[in-house]
Symmetry: C2
């Protein structure tokens, strides 16, 4: 099944949010569902999620974390056990109040995150230090109610993985928080070719119920910041809320130290934004559902021979993810546009000349570069192009991010940048939530994070002038 028609898409350079929606719908990545805030992930979009799952799940398993599955429904009373947690999530939950034809005694929350249901079970299962660490993850759907859908970015239901671990010491738990962010960074950079800044969230921006949140902040083409994923140090907050203790080696009671970390389908939104252009999507080869499309070009008298050769070529390079487009009723030019829109890294054109010379003409999606290669060299050449394209796309996104990151010491300049070109701003902040709120109100920019590699300096807050020791990263949230 392929699209029945490719129509016009808005230029990315003209209106990025319109382009974003156009390209998702036209490339058949996703569509709106007939439920408020919900979307359907179509096969071409879901294949991206499958690539992410394969890549990340392997890293998770290598770390000794095991997959499990906890219920979709959480008793309302559980969500309420951790005070900040319920305050953070209550406004967004969907509630099941009837089931099996009866009104329920207690409302059930459709999970907005699974801390409370999981930790309740951890408590039942683990009573001694021998049972620690608990290292679990689940791949599942999550519901946080939204009034309006913004495809992939903001939807009432989304897919993610959520890792939830419990440890005997805070140190061990913190190591896990960092490990998870390293795995996410690897996924973003090596699979998705997306650069980002890793850092710690401010108190106002951190996870509801946690002590510390680490984030991966991604710059979008319009100079905004997209929170790519997060990893949370939960301290002992939840073990205390659930009154979960285990006996340590000395036989004394210990509240386990917990962490949680999640990576969601929102990342696909970042992927789309980071690499596309006016002609459509541009997927990095490592994650591209189709790495190479083969388009035969023929007149009616050469049709059979050209097609036979094109199929041979397809077999020849079958170690890559290849799609051979033999669809009738579409011109070659139409197909070129279609697959460019769909972001396929390499197009292979097979015509009479290629057939006669035993060659293939390849065109790169990123540069438009075109070359004709002997069949015997094809696998090697394509392999090298894909490898380089992957590296180049990451390098470009890194360069773009750095080019639009400003080190600013004057609040006037801060305001001016946020009004015009936007981007990331590195500025001293006193860490007072009042200043943070004021800056947000006046510039729409929020603290994105304190980068992990930030050095301690002597400075003054860009807003209030009080002493500050770190340059935080500011940007408008996507």
């Amino acid at each position: 099944m392929t699209s029945e028609r490719v129509t016009h898409i808005t230029k990315k350079s003209e209106n990025i949010s319109k382009w974003y929606t156009d390209v998702i719908l036209q490339a058949e990545l996703a569509d709106y569902a007939p439920i408020k805030g919900c979307m359907v992930i179509r096969p071409y979009g879901y294949a991206l999620w499958e690539s992410i799952q394969t890549f990340l799940d392997k890293l998770i398993k290598q770390r000794g974390v095991k997959n499990a599955y906890f219920p979709l429904f959480i008793p309302e009373s559980y969500l309420k056990k951790e005070k900040e947690h319920v305050q953070g999530f209550a406004p967004q939950v969907a509630m099941v109040t009837e089931a099996g034809g009866e009104k329920l005694d207690e409302k059930l929350v459709v999970r907005p995150t699974s801390e409370t249901i999981m930790y309740n079970m951890y408590k039942l299962w683990t009573h001694s230090w021998r049972g620690l660490p608990v290292l679990m993850n689940q791949w599942c759907n999550i519901v946080r109610w939204e009034k309006r859908t913004y495809l992939f970015m903001r939807t009432s239901e989304f897919l993610w993985q959520e890792g939830h671990c419990a440890h005997a010491t805070h140190e061990e738990s913190l190591a896990m928080v960092r490990w998870a962010m390293d795995a996410y960074k690897k996924t973003y950079q090596e699979l998705m070719a997306i650069y980002g800044i890793v850092g710690t969230k401010s108190v106002a921006e951190r996870f509801a119920g946690g002590d510390k949140t680490i984030t991966y902040e991604i710059m979008t083409p319009d100079g905004k910041a997209l929170q790519g994923c997060t990893s949370h140090d939960l301290g002992q907050n939840f073990s205390k809320a659930f009154n979960w203790t285990v006996l340590d080696k000395k036989g004394e009671k210990l509240y386990p130290w917990q962490n949680s970390w999640g990576f969601s389908t929102r990342s696909i939104g970042a992927l789309i934004l980071a690499h596309g252009d006016d002609r459509g999507l541009m997927f990095p080869p490592a994650i591209a559902p189709v790495q190479i499309v083969i388009v035969p070009i023929f007149k009616s008298e050469t049709k059979n021979n050209v097609r036979t050769y094109a199929r041979e070529v397809a077999k020849y390079i079958s170690k890559f993810r290849v799609e051979y487009d033999e669809r009738e009723g579409e011109t070659a030019g139409f197909k070129f546009n279609k697959w460019e829109l769909k972001g396929v890294p390499i197009r292979v054109e097979i015509g009479q000349k290629e057939m006669e010379q035993k060659t293939a003409t390849i065109v790169q999606r990123d540069t438009g570069e075109k070359q004709t290669i002997a069949l015997s060299e094809l696998t090697k050449t394509i392999g090298a192009i894909l490898h380089n394209m992957q590296k180049t796309l990451l390098a470009k996104h890194k360069q773009f991010t750095e080019l639009h990151t400003h080190t600013v010491d004057s609040y006037d300049e801060f305001k001016k940048i946020m009004k015009t070109e936007r981007g990331f701003i590195r500025a001293f902040w006193c860490e007072n939530p009042e200043c943070e709120r004021a800056i947000k109100q006046e510039t729409k920019a929020t603290t994105r994070c304190l980068p992990l590699n930030a050095i301690k300096e002597k400075g003054v807050c860009v807003h209030c002038g009080n002493p500050a020791i770190h340059r935080w990263l500011f940007a408008q949230a996507y």
Copy 2:
């Protein structure tokens, strides 16, 4: 993380349903959740589901079916579009009535199956024969409300895949219905070593809203029948209910022919029942999360050397799924019992003798057979044992099924068998739903299916004596 304590399990030969629950809880496959009818799938149980997903997803993709993801929530009005469909599922649905702090205008059904939400989208996407066939599948969670949990077998929420395809002709659709059942049969037999009878459901037992249901009926050790999975010919019922037409090659309107097919975590219940014994679980090697456990046996003075050698052995056979159990505070005997309970196909014992002779002692979970093998031969020998064990377990289950399948022509005999030893009964049935109901009421046995390989014969209904042309398969449902 492993269990903190292994306690007593009921003997399978004494009380199979008590054994079933004991073994699931003790082996840490799953646990009860604090929500009516819900369960938690623990890592050791979830690994089984991951094996099934890997095996079946590959078959699904080979057939050209692509994965997608549709919303968890279905507007109540959608479910109502197909009359029989809503009657079948309405009593079991869970309803979201509040979300984002507000009462919803229309109640949302938590999907009990996704026909209605998916076909609504198919209609929006596909308007011509060029868009057919639609070949889609999703792996997701499903909710059908249950008052009481029976772990894996009957739970308010379960996991499954649901394939949903649409075709230009009934023939093509029927081919897909059969293909799906072939893929399921392969999964049950080659991965799970579970024999079953493939056949067509009676009108009363088929899918609500479909024209025909094919099933895989599995015999449990107590002679009952477990419906392993189903594949449905939906005819044009849903395309008509949704008024979905596409233009065919002649430009005329065509209602697409649809089918759906599902395989769920219920299959894990069948797996547990089919192979275990009084000592616990017994997993076929192909699906076993751990294929080999290595247990070191030492005195304090040999501890270090034996453990070093055991770790070497583990590396040596790392092409298998190996667990090396170095856990402190448990005797070797305790570990033997623990891993037998957990159904690991092969135990490797490493003691001083093995260390000195560069050998390993291996014990089979199914036969208890014990042999000492030179390290150089170990991989080959283990490979052969696992291969044979897989085949033997399937053969045994097939033999058991055949041994407890009775060809019966007298209703007295029918009743007697169902009162005593149970099993499957092959008996003529007139295909009148009245007789079916009466038989169920009097014997608790239902029609399980008309086996695909049933031959047309001249007979009389075992209940009413009217003419009948086929022997149907009867059994008590698990």
